[in-house]
Point group: C2
Chain length 305, copies 2
């Protein structure tokens, strides 16, 4: 049980934490702080917390758990504000999609006695803002924690129990390895999706209108991925540059080989790749990360068999 939870930032993830904590009684008091007046008013209208303030330092005062839920690029400025107000023994965590940068940028700013345990819930939708959140977002999803080797085990345990309380499965991981794994599972796919939708945005008007009209499975799925929060994703690419460029490099090498196979009409090479990729899909389904139900990219369009 948390006495006072402080959420700095109240978008999709922050508001989902607030709702989940409220629904499951995981904290006595929820303090919400955000930089924009309108967003704070929206959070208050939705009844997401108990305390609403534009002053992040006030929100974290006496909090035993503080979670940064802003885009990663805002962390350092937030830390400068809240550091003097953090209570000794408090846990400071976050929900950012990159972890190496967060360790490097924040560690020098953490006051003595505060437990710094970065985290990343692997959950989300393409929608943003306080109204987009919901209490069940983390159910059965992974939450990766990246504590330093010398982190306090009791604090790690407390944060683990908090995320388990929200329904998540918790794992700890090295921050650099986290960033490499996420670069290929999430960051490069998003970059590619944003890119292809951008290519369409630059098409001549007539073709573009037909692309939209006839957007088939494939492109339509990419547009969903490419509808995610622009500032959050900007910060991901600014702060996980090395891992993204490494994985993008491998992707581009492979794409050159594939492009050549298309150009020279190498049917066996194409069929071989297209067959191998099915095995990866099966592994993901077996790992419980996905169901085998056919998906049309359109809710409510499931077949009645």
């Amino acid at each position: 049980m948390i006495e006072k939870l402080a959420l700095i930032g109240i978008g999709l993830i922050g508001s989902s934490i607030a709702r989940g904590v409220r629904a499951r009684g995981l904290a006595r008091t929820i303090a919400i702080s955000t930089r924009k007046k309108d967003t704070l008013a929206e959070a208050e209208a939705l009844g997401l917390g108990d305390i609403y303030t534009l002053d992040a330092a006030e929100a974290v005062r006496n909090a035993d758990l503080v979670i940064l839920c802003t885009p990663v690029g805002a962390y350092e400025a937030v830390m400068d504000q809240i550091a003097p107000a953090l209570a000794p023994g408090a846990i400071l965590s976050d929900v950012g999609s990159v972890k190496g940068h967060v360790h490097q940028a924040l560690k020098p700013k953490i006051p003595q006695g505060v437990h710094f345990i970065p985290g990343h819930p692997l959950a989300g939708t393409e929608h943003s803002g306080p109204a987009a959140g919901f209490a069940e977002l983390f159910e059965n999803r992974w939450c990766v924690l990246t504590p330093d080797a010398d982190a306090d085990p009791q604090a790690v345990e407390k944060l683990t129990a908090f995320w388990q309380g929200l329904g998540a499965n918790v794992e700890t991981m090295d921050p650099t390895h986290h960033d490499l794994v996420l670069a290929i599972t999430s960051h490069v796919p998003h970059l590619v999706a944003y890119n292809i939708v951008g290519t369409v945005a630059d098409l001549e008007a007539h073709t573009q209108s037909e692309v939209i009209k006839f957007s088939a499975s494939g492109f339509r799925d990419f547009t969903r991925i490419a509808a995610s929060d622009p500032v959050m994703w900007r910060d991901v690419f600014l702060t996980n540059r090395d891992a993204v460029l490494e994985m993008l490099g491998r992707f581009l090498e492979d794409l050159s080989v594939l492009q050549r196979a298309v150009r020279i009409g190498d049917g066996p090479a194409l069929e071989d790749l297209f067959t191998r990729t099915r095995a990866i899909r099966r592994s993901i389904i077996e790992a419980g990360q996905e169901t085998d139900a056919p998906d049309f990219g359109r809710h409510g369009a499931s077949p009645k068999k």
Copy 2:
């Protein structure tokens, strides 16, 4: 009303046509032919038709509508078999994802008096085979017909009514333009999805197992796209090479710019692209090709708000 419908090939699309035709009473007799004994036996066990034969020529005899539902690469061999048996006045169509090649390859083989009207229903799932089909697959989806300028209007009308009977919205289009639009909406996205899943398949074992375990939105969606039928997709890239290379070229140009923005840390450029792409998504939702409900890539995981 069709007297005798002949389906050559009985995978996801062919079997969905058979089920839809049966459910809505669109044809008196359904003849099914396929090259593989096992597939034919499976279709028969599923009760998809009235006549089952390994001899495509027998299936098309006296048929007033013949639809090729095999991978595009098999069309020419099938045509050599069926051409002598096609009835004068019959409509010959198909469901292939490329249309320019189909016109070029088959037109010289079409007997006098047979109406050749290629088609492409923009529908499908990542599953394959006769058991994967269902009667509702085409409901509210586009079916694009690409008749020649001198095609018989009555035959086009009859085929249009047939697809409308299956619940589809029908449009006619120039085959070359169809191939260009589909290259960017479907073919290049599939190529990119296959490629990124292939990159993961080549990762060192430890990282790969974590990628599978933590496969987040993004990669998980790509694996679904990359689980589609390998032979069908091989043939798409072998037969729509020019349009695919044209669109892939544009995609790669744009990706180089984006890669550079990541490398030099150009935040404004990244944010600008990630904001522009949202507008395309909105257009697709407004065009009714997609709903705005958040999607998790997992059926049954929709939030109760």
